[in-house]
Subunit: 600 residues, 2 copies
């Protein structure tokens, strides 16, 4: 038996596991897992986004879901060879359920499953029309009054939302709404996207002028149309804006720009939303069955309430309203905050010739962009990864296959490497008085992003300006008060200011639900984002998945979609399939709907 290949071993295990599931033999199925095990399911078994940790949770899920799910045809995925390294077998798998086809990833130790990822790829009978089944376009043959593509598009535009109701309304037409809208279009789910800006991409265009994506191109593809090979690594904001605009157009989204969502309420009896929007000066009432808030993972701006703010005679605004540096050349600027926005704004003001002071109230995690690319993302999202055959789809699934419970353990050594590689840089920052941290457990940037969505800066140049004293730094003291012309800190420092920027972050996404629907519904669904890691700004209990994101919430038919381009791409697949199943009346028994522990 010593000469068994990884493929043979994997096939044998899948046969045992699949056989047990088919027989309904939950004991035998659970016995395929090692004690220390994780099963992450994206919609296929749980109609939820859920990680089962340990055999007891696996057993409980199977007891609840196995009969309804009816999984079958477990196999190594076609064309993918399992590999074995240091006794760990790693492989791609495919399977089916009663209603869907699935794809996944497995890690096996000592013949037992350590990690299992199961994802829903497509609903049977509702496959996307693509590749061999793509639409014909031309209607060959002839018939009187047959309509053209253009006439059909115009008819859809004229009818949807008026004489015919969309099944789904997405509030927010940024990358999240656009990616989800594209998937729903392909699945034939009538959808309207509501966006207050004039053009798709404006949510990027309208930000400060030096903004570029902080994530590299390989991480940023939208579904269906990849960025071309000449696309820059870090897309400038206006360029990504143009891409989103063209994408919304060629993917034929029903995109209502210059439209404001005014209110939404759910009729629990009719199972229908009433969404009031204002478009072209008129109120329009939409009656979708599903409502998605894709208004940005950041939620509403946190504007602080410092004593004396009302007296300030210069400009003061939250970072989300910052108009860019051009008006502030030669002026004194104080930026309160020390995360990404604060750094970007300070650098732009500094370059434009303003006298800038950053007020750092608490420690910040800094990683240099190049280093993050090389060490943090390179294995999955880089030109080399593409060369190595790691397509974006595969990278997404590999990333998804590592359970959040243990992800920090994989991250800590990477950030140790980064710290060593850039030791001189960090020394310089500390000498400048900058308060650094690496996350509560040293697990760095990505865990901070998942846990709290804040607390870091990906350095693209501002840190050197701080080291060089070109951006002045006041750290370790909070704001005491704002006067007519200055920010006064608790340590007595007075920072004269013509402009104050409050780069003080954002609230939870359920704030948008409070604004649009009601505080009651916002409280019912509770805080969005965060894993429950009991680290700073991510209170427990442990959830194991992002709260409320891309999955059912405590409010029926209300969904939250958001995050960076990677998450917009990846999770839109699973949210779209959940919505499509509901549209088609396919049973979607949700397992393990999360409880609410925090209101915001």
């Amino acid at each position: 038996m010593l000469d068994k290949t990884p493929a043979t071993k994997l096939n044998a295990l899948l046969e045992t596991f699949g056989g047990a599931l088919t027989r309904g033999d939950i004991d035998a199925a659970v016995d395929c897992f090692q004690d220390d095990c994780y099963w992450r399911d994206l919609v296929a078994f749980t109609w939820n986004i859920k990680t089962l940790e340990g055999k007891d949770q696996v057993r409980a899920m199977l007891e609840a879901q196995l009969a309804a799910t009816g999984p079958s045809n477990w196999a190594a995925a076609e064309g993918e060879a399992a590999t074995e390294t240091d006794g760990l077998i790693d492989g791609w798998i495919s399977f089916e359920t009663k209603v869907a086809r699935g794809f996944g990833h497995i890690r096996v130790k000592n013949g037992k499953i350590w990690t299992l990822l199961t994802t829903m790829a497509e609903l049977k009978g509702h496959e996307e029309k693509a590749g061999f089944t793509r639409p014909m376009g031309a209607k060959h043959g002839s018939g009187p009054n047959r309509r053209t593509w253009k006439e059909e598009r115009e008819e859809e535009t004229a009818e949807l939302g008026f004489s015919r109701q969309p099944y789904c309304v997405i509030i927010g037409g940024g990358q999240g709404g656009i990616a989800l809208g594209a998937r729903l279009k392909q699945l034939g789910v009538p959808t309207i996207i509501i966006e207050r800006n004039e053009r798709p991409g404006d949510s990027w265009r309208k930000r400060y002028k030096s903004l570029c994506l902080h994530d590299p191109v390989w991480y940023d593809h939208l579904p269906y149309i990849d960025f071309p090979k000449n696309w820059p690594v870090f897309s400038p904001k206006d360029k990504i804006g143009d891409w989103l605009e063209m994408y919304a157009k060629v993917m034929e989204l029903n995109y209502w720009s210059s439209t404001e969502a005014r209110s939404a309420s759910y009729d629990e009896t009719a199972k229908e939303w009433t969404v009031v929007v204002e478009r072209g000066g008129k109120q329009i009432v939409l009656k979708p069955k599903q409502l998605v808030l894709a208004t940005g993972m950041s939620g509403r701006p946190n504007l602080p309430t410092f004593p004396g703010m009302e007296k300030f005679k210069g400009d003061q605004h939250h970072s989300s309203k910052h108009p860019g540096p051009d008006a502030y050349a030669g002026k004194k600027a104080v930026v309160v905050g020390s995360n990404n926005s604060a750094h970007d704004i300070c650098a732009a003001l500094c370059e434009a010739g303003a006298d800038v002071t950053m007020v750092q109230r608490s420690s910040t995690h800094i990683v240099r962009s190049d280093t993050l690319m090389d060490i943090g993302l390179g294995a999955l999202y880089s030109e080399q990864a593409v060369r190595n055959g790691i397509t974006t789809a595969k990278a997404d699934l590999i990333f998804a296959s590592v359970p959040y419970k243990i992800l920090h353990a994989f991250q800590i050594p990477l950030y140790k490497q980064m710290k060593e590689r850039d030791a001189a840089f960090y020394d310089g920052l500390e000498k400048a008085g900058f308060m650094l941290d690496w996350g509560d457990d040293g697990s760095g940037l990505f865990m901070k992003y998942l846990r709290r969505g804040s607390g870091y800066y990906i350095d693209v140049g501002a840190s050197q300006l701080i080291i060089d004293g070109k951006i002045k730094l006041k750290s370790g003291s909070d704001v005491a008060e704002i006067t007519e012309d200055a920010v006064v800190l608790k340590d007595g420092t007075r920072l004269p200011a013509d402009v104050i920027v409050y780069a003080t972050g954002y609230g939870s996404m359920n704030g948008w639900a409070a604004e649009l629907i009601s505080q009651e519904v916002a409280d019912k669904v509770g805080k969005c984002w965060g894993l429950g890691s009991s680290t700073t700004k991510d209170p427990g209990p442990w959830e194991g998945e992002q709260r409320n994101m891309w999955k059912p919430t405590q409010q029926e038919a209300l969904w939250f979609h958001g995050g960076n381009l990677h998450q917009s791409r990846h999770y839109s697949q699973f949210l779209a399939l959940q919505l499509k199943a509901r549209q088609e009346g396919i049973p979607t028994p949700v397992y393990g709907l999360q409880a609410v522990h925090h209101l915001r």
Copy 2:
């Protein structure tokens, strides 16, 4: 030696061939070819698009070009295994010249080269910034007054054509101009595209409403951004219009829409064009070094001069001006012509409820779209081909590797198959009185396209309307005269008409040069298109390549670019490299500049 693999055999041959070329041993190099041999070169050796037929032509070319070209590093292309079928070895090759890297294809029989394709892939030191070398986008670090992507784009737009002259001007912003413009942009050749319509894609949008591409999606990709997998097989005209518009935008082309080219003249001393265009009511004078006419392979409309045309009281127009069928419901329409446009227009008129008669003056080649897809294109351009690993780039090169001299021999059996498969269909057409042909030598549609660019219809439904008598047919008689209200044929038939459409084709592309530059220059460059096959409408002598297309002409710095989406994609690569080399002052000794045998 019997157990040699195809790879070993190919490597040995390439070593012999490459060695001979390196030593300048032309005898030995020519000896690597079999007597019946073809070497097709796209720019790499000849700075021309040229097929050398037989050893004498190969020898003559090498004698003229070898020293200047300096080829080296002949090898089987990385990652591509040669194959052997019935004694024919087939393989991908790579090589270098002094100034470029090349890629090609080879077929070997009995140890000697039967066909060789050499293409220039990139100029050394002027490689496109893509993949590992893609631009960073974000400018990390900082500096006062550094400009954003948007500011740089705005500056380029404001300057180019005004304070700074483009190196190249492309007249015509359809698929040809757009594809070439995209490649030149990537190569850093400052270019302006002149287009009279308001928006990119309008040359499609403005055609009759039921128009769809007659070629399938796999054949139609533009450079850099493939159509997505959900894109229809046959793109409706407005959808391809939207795609072209978005493409021009995201590829950052300097696209001057709503602009008319008024005149152009070349200063042989200054080596510079003076191109006068009208934009926004103002005349602007451009001074490019290179001028490309990408005004459509079709040239100017051929409007016939039938006696009495001036007396006709209804609408009459060339097919290129046909507004679509909507105004003609219940009216009598006569369409003179029986090729693609005539069929499409007849079908649309018929569907809209007009009483339509097609006047067929000479025989037409008809192929059903499905059949053409399956038998004619399927091996190279289809979902199955993609599945089989035939990328579009590979398909283009495989297609390019078959010399035009023998291409008809590969085509004839395909069209025999088509004729058999659709025998009942062709019977029906003949019973309806339709005059059919299969090209002079039975080689069918693609050869007709290459030889004369006309004489066929890809059936998407109109033929059945003819078979069924829904489109009335008058065949075998030419037009005698037009009266106030009818078309009268030479056989005496009188066809009452409210509208007459002259689907009478187009002239040669050098007609555009006559219009824009002068009749003298148009005559100097001579007829465009056609192979010189001495078949109908493609007079000899044999050229072996499309006349004047994508390659140097008798008029210095004047180029013609056009054709279907496939040709726009494929040949724009070689035209762009020719232009880039000239911009950089790289020597471009042209071998075998074609002589002029026909003026139009």
